[in-house]
Each structure stands twice: as structure tokens, then as C-alpha cells.
Amino acid sequence: MLQGDGQEILGVDRRGFLELSATGSAALSTMSWGAVLSGCSAGRAVPGMKQLRAGDVELIRAMIPCVMKGRRAPNDTLAVDRTLQSFDTLLDDVSPGAVDQLRQAFDALSFAPMRWWLTGRWSGWSTASGEDVCRSLERLRDSRFEVSNAIYGAMVRLVSISYYLLPEHMGSTGYPGAPRKVVEEIAPLEEKKAAP
């Protein structure tokens, strides 16, 4: 399936999130994303999550300690768990269209042949060392293929936002916080019934 230039499997039938631009791509195959990725990392959110599927959880758990490596304790499991929950909430908060786009990035990294082509790693993320994950991210960043750069950008951005949305991490930026808001109780807005 992956002969020579791995870009052959990244054919798409119309321009979309992970479609390559004309200037960057080699010959595109006739296989569509849907055909490549159907059945992979499929399914519902895992218990305790609103959006993240089993494959997503494995992926994001691996990514978090790498993206937040600069911290003194990147493997602090509480921080990883909290960031994972924050990530799940973030996905639940954006539109289904946005989630569709982002899931393409997750699925690409969860599907072994694609993962291998993108990062050089065949085995799943649960067996990856911290070094393995960081090396994979670097490879995505440094690739000449836009699809790889797009996946790097999405993973780093989402983990970073998830991390810094948590109140316990905001202060680490030197941001003292917002004013306190006090709301006086009022009667609920009376709504006129819409006339039939």
C-alpha cells in the first residue's frame, strides 16, 4: 500500500483540511480519506469523556507530556489527567464541523500505516517513550509535506490551549487573573410566548 512516496495514499477528492496544496504534492492517488480511515479509531467517546474515543485518549495522553515538556514535572499524572479532561471539554465546546476537521489529524496518527508514514513509528502510542513522541512531533514539524505540518500544528495548539485553560496553570504565565465578578440576583427574564 505504501510504496515509494507515501503521499500516494493521501489522495483526496476535494480540497479539505489535510489535502495537499498543488505546489507541495506529488501525484495524488484516487483513494479518498474516507476509504483509508473508515473503521479506524471509530466509535463513541470512552466513559468519562464527552468526545475523546479510545484511540484519541491513547494519542493525547502520549502527546501531553511531550508538548508540556518544558515543565519541571511533565509526567505529573494529575496534570496529564486534568489536561486530558480539558482537551475533551475543548472538543465538546467547538462545533461538529471543527471536530470533524480535528479528528482527521487524530485518526491519521492513530492508523498504523499512516502513523508510520508521517512519523516513522508503527507501534501504538501507549508503548511510546517520551523521546519517541517528541521525535515524532519534530518529524511532523520539519516535514516538507503540509499535511504533516498541519498535524503538528493541531496537536501542539490543542494541548497548549487545553493546558492553559486550566485555572491552576494560568498563573504560571504571570497573569494574575481577571477581576472578580459579582452578580446580583434578579428575576429571570420574562419571556413573551411566541404567538402561533
Partner: protein, 535 residues
């Protein structure tokens, strides 16, 4: 050290707190028990800059107005300056909106008041160069600077627009000092605020109702004149009867304003005004399958694509505090009207999650070190003026597999060249006033420690989509106005070319980008168009 977390704000300025006493007719569509059918003189889709202005103008003239807003009604008692809640509840797609290939992040409002509820209060009249270009090159009539002047003046008065009189915050002051140092022109930004306390949370909803958004000005004005507001109501299509439009069909959404509940809202009206903003107004027309013989709907959608540079200073900058935008430079904006992309220089407000999202780190170490130092980071933005040159044709709005509007706007060589040039300008400015290190928001960019180093590195930097962080806070066009129907969607009075009783009155009217933050352009133009509608 300034620490705003020590101050407390109340909620007594919220004009909606006594909505019932004021007799305001407000319906939350998520509470509807069944579908409803309504009738009005005018139905207005969207309550942003265009919708609010039109609603107030028409309801004050005695017309029966119904406003439909897909977003929720969130008022200042709700605005607790929390990033997660604001991005989730006040922005299009929960802040997840992006162009089709994911390369440009699009910030637009989705709530009563539209983008005016979450914008940064910068108010500029449409540049004369832009108006003249529309007249000369884009077949627009009646929009000369002289013809629009009284409408701008009226909205400036209505929204208390005036040059910001307080000292700029450090983030803005760096821009001012750098412009002075290098001999670039600069000026103070006019803002639509009244009683602003200079804390800088405009983008998360003004907690003290100082920002004169549509939420606290024209929408209350319309409600005071018996307009009806239905929120969490997403218009799917306009309704046709032969070659006239007779109203709209909307879906009631749930409490989160995301999923349809199954209830419908049908509004029959003599006149239908689309003010859903660029992206949604073309989207509604596409879903309605209205006549489009020259395939103009959705085309020429522009973004003022933003390139960003960050710089670390010895002194505290606190980019998260203070009126977000108070200084601008147009030095590089109008060197030629068409030609290589011009750009406007400003600064953004930067709170932690926003910073984390746009940082585009070269490495995890750089991310954490930079974010730990956020209080010392100055951020500068260049907004590219797209749509004036032949090579800059903008993006196209289409419908995705869920039948939702999506903007396809590729980052082409014309824009990438403009971004590279803008990076150079901004980095030179930041180093000229003492930056210790600086970098463009680009995944392959380390921090540079001098302008000399930055300049050399920029020449080698691969400036392209997905590596450079690119955003847009100004979506314009897609329902261009003009007299030539082969190049426009509506005429110079905002009337849809191919059907009667259908108008567009929002930022999707613009035939090119504006070349300035667009809210006042929308206010002035829509005041004119809605006033004309009365005659």
C-alpha cells in the same frame, strides 16, 4: 505590579436586568414547546453590526421588526472574563471556526450583538481609498466619502466613538515608540466606548457595558420600539414565492445553541434582511438555492489575514491588561492601492489560552519558557489588506457535508509574500525599541536575539500555511454589492439582484476588504441602506 484580580465588578450596568419592566419582547427558542409561525413587516437575520443597526432604524420608523439570532443572549451579568466560557459561548463554532484547509483561524461572534459583542472596540470610517476603489473599479454607486460621511457621523455619535484619550497600555505603547523611532506614521485608535475602565476584556464580553456594542445600544433601541428578538434561532433558508422572498425558516437550537431541538420558527415578512455576517449570509443564500446565474454568491470573501510577531522585553508588558487596541500604524497600508499586499499594524489583547493557542512553538521548551514569561511578551499584528490586487481574489463560501457554510480561502503566494514582509517590519520595530528576543508566530522560528539575526533568518524561513499561525478577526464579502450583476450579488442599495424583497445588510456586502477594522463601515453603510429602505 498591576493585579486586576484584586478588584470586584458588579452587574448593575446590564440593560437586560430589567427587560421585563421595559416590556422587551425576547424569546429563547431553546424553550419553545412547539414550532411557531410569525409575521412581521421586516425580518432581520442576525443581530450584529448590520442587524442591530437595521433593526433600530426600521423599528424606530414604526415598522414591525422580528430579529432572529442563532447565538444565545448573553449579557454582561454573564461576562465573568473567563476565557473558556467566552470562547465556547460567544464565538462562531465555539472558537473552532477555521478556513476549509484549517490554515486560518477565524474569530467571529455568535451571540446577540454578533461580533460587536466580542470585538476590541476599534472604530474606523471606511478609508477613502477603499470607497473610491469601489466606485471606480467595483461598480458601486452612492458610497463616495461625501455620501457616507453623514451616516458615519451619526453612528459615531450613537456609539460614542472617539479617539482613546487614556495612555496606551505597554503592548500598544511599544508599537507607538517603535513607529516614532523608525519614522513611521502612527495614530490613536477611535473606540466605541462609554465609561470604559481600561481593563481590556472586550474580547470576552465587556463586563461593565462600556463597550458600545449592538448588544447594549441598537438592540435595546429596537426592543424599546417593539421589535421582537428570538435568539438560539438559526435561519436555514429564505422562503420563496415565485420571484419574491416572503420570509425565512429557522431551527430552534438547544441551550448551548448547537443542536436543533426539532422545533421550527417560520417568519413571514414583507421584507427580509440578511445580516448573518460574511460566511453565514452567503451560506443562507446557498441553502435557499436562490437564482445565482453568474455564480457570485460566496465569492470574493476576504479576511484581513493576520501575521503576528512576539517579542520579549525586560519590563513587564502585561499584554492581558488595558484597552486592547489604542495605537495603529497605516505606514505600510497604502503605499499603493493595488500591488503587493498592504497591511495595518496593531496589537491584540493576549490572555493565557489565547497565547497558548497562537504561540506556534518551535519546541516544547520554547513554548513553556515563553508562556512562563507571558507578562514580558509584546505581541504585534499585521492585518493584510486583501481584495484590491488582481492576484487577491479572496475565498469562496460553500456548504459542507452537514450543509453548514464553510470558507475555502487558500493562503496563496500573494498573501505569503505580504506576511513575510510584515514579519520583517514588525521584528525590526520590536528590536528597535529594545526587545531582548523576538520571533514570528511560526513553528520553525526560534527566538532571534537581534534584528540582524532575524533579518537573515527570515530570508530562509519557509513562510507557508500550517507553519505560520494565521488568523482573521474580520470576515468580509461574499454578497458583494454593485450595479453589475455579473460581478455582484446585491445592488448598491443592498437589494438582491434576482429576487424581490430580499436585502443584505452586513459585512458580506463589501466588494473588497476594508483596510481598517470594519465595524464602523458596517454601521455607516447599513444606516444608509436601511434609511433608504424606508423611502
Amino acid at each position: 505590579m498591576i493585579d486586576l484580580s484584586k478588584i470586584t465588578l458588579g452587574s448593575r450596568t446590564d440593560p437586560y436586568r430589567n427587560a421585563a419592566e421595559r416590556g422587551w419582547d425576547i424569546v429563547d427558542a431553546s424553550n419553545l414547546a412547539g414550532s411557531v409561525k410569525l409575521a412581521a413587516d421586516v425580518v432581520i437575520v442576525g443581530t450584529g453590526a448590520g442587524g442591530g443597526t437595521a433593526a433600530e432604524t426600521l423599528s424606530k420608523a414604526g415598522l414591525g421588526v422580528i430579529m432572529l439570532e442563532a447565538g444565545p443572549l448573553k449579557t454582561s451579568r454573564y461576562f465573568d472574563m473567563d476565557e473558556r466560557a467566552a470562547y465556547r459561548d460567544l464565538y462562531q463554532e465555539g472558537s473552532g471556526r477555521a478556513t476549509k484547509d484549517g490554515a486560518i483561524f477565524v474569530l467571529q461572534g455568535c451571540a446577540v450583538g454578533g461580533s460587536t459583542t466580542v470585538n476590541w472596540a476599534s472604530s474606523f470610517r471606511t478609508p477613502e481609498q477603499t470607497l473610491k476603489f469601489w466606485e471606480k473599479e467595483m461598480g458601486v454607486r452612492g458610497c463616495s466619502p461625501d455620501e457616507l460621511a453623514p451616516y458615519f457621523a451619526s453612528m459615531e455619535k450613537r456609539l460614542n466613538i472617539a479617539k482613546w484619550a487614556q495612555p496606551p497600555n505597554p503592548n500598544n505603547d511599544i508599537l507607538r515608540r517603535a513607529a516614532e523611532r523608525l519614522g513611521y506614521s502612527w495614530n490613536v485608535i477611535p473606540r466605541n466606548v462609554r465609561g470604559c475602565i481600561n481593563i481590556g476584556y472586550c474580547g470576552l464580553g465587556c463586563p461593565v457595558d462600556a463597550k458600545q456594542s449592538m448588544l447594549v445600544t441598537t438592540i435595546p433601541g429596537a426592543l424599546d420600539h417593539d421589535a421582537k428578538l428570538i435568539h438560539r434561532a438559526q435561519v436555514e433558508r429564505v422562503l420563496l414565492d415565485g420571484d419574491r422572498v416572503i420570509g425565512v425558516e429557522a431551527l430552534a437550537l438547544d441551550e448551548r445553541a448547537r443542536k436543533p431541538t426539532g422545533r421550527k420558527i417560520i417568519v413571514r415578512a414583507d421584507r427580509t434582511i440578511l445580516a448573518g455576517g460574511a460566511i453565514h449570509s452567503p451560506g443562507i443564500l446557498l441553502r435557499s438555492e436562490v437564482p445565482d446565474p453568474h455564480e457570485r454568491i460566496g465569492r470574493r470573501t476576504f479576511l484581513h489575514p493576520v501575521a503576528t510577531s512576539m517579542a520579549a522585553f525586560e519590563e513587564r508588558i502585561n499584554p492581558f491588561y488595558g484597552a486592547p487596541q489604542s495605537i495603529y500604524s497605516d505606514h505600510f497600508q497604502w503605499q499603493s492601492v493595488s500591488g503587493p499586499a498592504g497591511f495595518k499594524l496593531e496589537v491584540p489583547p493576549v490572555h493565557p489560552a489565547f497565547a497558548g493557542g497562537f504561540f506556534s512553538p518551535n519546541s516544547p521548551e520554547q513554548l513553556f519558557e515563553g508562556m512562563s514569561n507571558l507578562a514580558h511578551l509584546q505581541w504585534m499584528i499585521a492585518l493584510l489588506r486583501d481584495g484590491f490586487d488582481e492576484r487577491s481574489r479572496g475565498g469562496v463560501v460553500g456548504l459542507d457535508k452537514r450543509n453548514r457554510a464553510v470558507l475555502d480561502y487558500p493562503l496563496d503566494d500573494y498573501l505569503l509574500e505580504g506576511m513575510r514582509r510584515a514579519y520583517g517590519v514588525m521584528l525590526e520595530m520590536q528590536f528597535a525599541v529594545g526587545a531582548k528576543k523576538a520571533r514570528p508566530l511560526h513553528s520553525r522560528a526560534p527566538f532571534y536575539h537581534s534584528w540582524k539575526e532575524a533579518k537573515a533568518a527570515l530570508a530562509e524561513l519557509d513562510v507557508k500555511a500550517h507553519l505560520a499561525a494565521v488568523a482573521s478577526a474580520h470576515v468580509m464579502g461574499g454578497c458583494a454589492m454593485g450595479e453589475d450583476e455579473t460581478r455582484s450579488v446585491v445592488n448598491s442599495r443592498g437589494k438582491f439582484h434576482h429576487l424581490d424583497n430580499l436585502y443584505v445588510m452586513d459585512g458580506s456586502l463589501f466588494p473588497t476588504s476594508i483596510g481598517a477594522n470594519p465595524q464602523l463601515s458596517i454601521y455607516g453603510l447599513v444606516l444608509k441602506l436601511s434609511t433608504q429602505l424606508l423611502s
